[in-house]
């Protein structure tokens, strides 16, 4: 059971710290867990992982994926980190063949997705990582809303063989869940119910989406808010139920509207249900440089922009 935190204004731990602490706890219990880094150990905090279980391959992401596959073939469970564009599009054929096609177990942390790339700019921005990873048969993709959920994802991926990808900011984000919340891979979390519109969000934008719902409530508009943290496999049952009961759905993601959460919902609804759908995300644009706050507004993913777009279908 997941429960909303009582203070959503509060920031949690840095997400990179959560990943590192969780991995260190896992390594303590099971030394077959190994972490791989491509020379971003200082940026990810991976340099704080137990030395015997950390492999820094240097700036060579394709090799990192292959090495991880080889490690898995000898019985290890690898967790790989680099920035999300390099973790996905830079090494895609390796993820596809040395990973998916070879049926090896790879857990990949793509950090700083979308606008969170901030001042690293357009070269370091991925608005397409989820789209790419979705194309690998049997992959699992998660976009973490906060630290509590992130910890669950890191742990859950150990038990799920295959190519598993999670994206999350390295820095602290606002809290969404209480510490004792429980999740299930592939199951969306209904955070709030309302009959006028359903807002389906993922990742860091879940928090903003709750703000939008609260703002709408002050105007007498009641919104359902769903945290679809598992983008693949998507929770079809919940989408169908939402379409039937509410009929108006808005998807919200820090990603291109092509190939990510919005696409997944649209594809499913086109064949299985009827609802008015609006996708909020990035449309035919590359990333650029700026602070995350600037970029969030620039790409129309801040609270006010989301609110305005939601109003368009009401």
């Amino acid at each position: 059971m997941s429960k909303l935190t009582s203070n959503r204004e509060e920031f949690g731990k840095e997400l990179r710290q959560v990943v590192v602490e969780t991995l260190n706890e896992m390594i303590e219990k099971d030394p077959t867990v190994v972490a791989l880094e491509a020379d971003l150990g200082g940026a990810s905090g991976f340099s704080k992982i137990a030395k015997e279980n950390l492999i820094n391959v240097g700036i060579a992401e394709a090799n990192m994926v292959g090495v991880a596959s080889g490690l898995n073939l000898t019985g290890f469970v690898p967790y790989l980190h680099t920035f999300s564009p390099f973790a996905t599009r830079r090494a895609f054929d390796q993820l596809y063949l040395s990973g998916g096609y070879s049926d090896t177990h790879l857990n990949i942390y793509g950090s700083d997705p979308g606008f969170t790339a901030g001042v690293n700019g357009g070269t370091h921005t991925s608005y397409e990582d989820v789209a790419l990873m979705r194309m690998i048969p049997n992959s699992v993709i998660c976009d973490a809303a906060d630290e509590v959920q992130l910890k669950f994802i890191v742990q859950a991926f150990k038990e799920r063989c295959g190519v598993n990808y999670f994206r999350a900011n390295r820095k602290a984000v606002r809290k969404v869940y209480q510490q004792d919340s429980e999740f299930e891979l592939g199951k969306g979390v209904v955070l709030r119910t309302g009959e006028d519109v359903a807002l389906i969000a993922s990742g860091q934008l879940v928090s903003q989406t709750l703000d939008v719902a609260e703002k709408l409530a002050t105007e007498g508009i009641q919104a359902t808010v769903i945290d679809m943290f598992t983008v693949k496999p998507i929770d079809k049952e919940l989408i169908l139920k939402t379409a039937q009961e509410i009929g108006k759905i808005v998807t919200i993601e820090n990603h291109s509207i092509y190939g990510g959460l919005g696409s997944s919902v649209a594809e499913f609804l086109a064949e299985n249900g009827k609802a008015t759908l609006k996708r909020i995300g990035v449309d035919e644009r590359f990333g650029q440089v700026g602070t995350p706050d600037f970029l969030q507004k620039e790409y129309g993913l801040d609270m006010l922009s989301i609110y305005q777009k939601v109003k368009e279908i009401l």
């Binding site: 060579a60 394709a62 090799n63 292959g66 090495v67 080889g70 000898t74």
Partner: protein, 277 residues
Amino acid sequence: MEKLRDTIRLDVLKTLKTMGYGHLGGALSIVELLAALYGSEMKFDAKNPSWEERDRLVLSKGHAGIALYATLANAGFFPKDWLDTVNVGGTNLPSHPDRLKTAGVDVTTGSLGQGTSIAAGIAYGLKMKKSSAFTYLICGDGELNEGQCWEAFQFIAHNQLDNCLVIIDENKKQLDGRTKDILNPFDIQEKMRAFGFTTQKVDGSDLSSIQKAIHELKQVKNSAIALVLDTTKGQGIPYFEELSDNHSVKFDNEENRLALEKAIEELEVRINEQTNE
């Protein structure tokens, strides 16, 4: 070992005859190497292909799959009549090796360069587990065009993976022609040395030279090791060695077909003689 070498070569040719086409050049250039590995060097149990302590083989030049299949069949991993099914829909023997389909295939390969990193990861993992199992990585010289090979070689050298023998089949040709005309590899042995490897280069058509080099390189400690094999594409069959376009050969013309049949006949005679000796 000579008999195994000739039998592998014969089975490669018979497989090609059944298929009517195939990657002849680069399959024949590693026949001696595979005979040396499976005939004497490698630790494996064909009845227990996933035996933990087995040595691993990564055929990173996956297009030479039929040579590996002929070898594995002779080593008893699966029945020889499977060789008639290469590339037939639903087969266990696809053109490029697939670890999920074939007993004895440790790593799925085909997208060039990727096997190098996987072999590196296997060798690293075996070290972590303090296993005595050894990893043999076979690359093509054309394959070295791929940048990923050099990423993996740096990793192997940096980590001093002396339990991973990198073997480069220098047959001097790739699909579109001679390697020196497509993308000059220059001196491969020198390059490997510069990357931090302890290296040897021997005649890749000579079984005893290959064996001796492998023995010596396996004695090296705390350094990556590489063996460059001086080979010929189409090795062992003069007609196909001389055929200019011999990466993948079709047997839809009289000349190629007759040459193939003649080579099969000669090998059969030779193997019979070896059996009677």
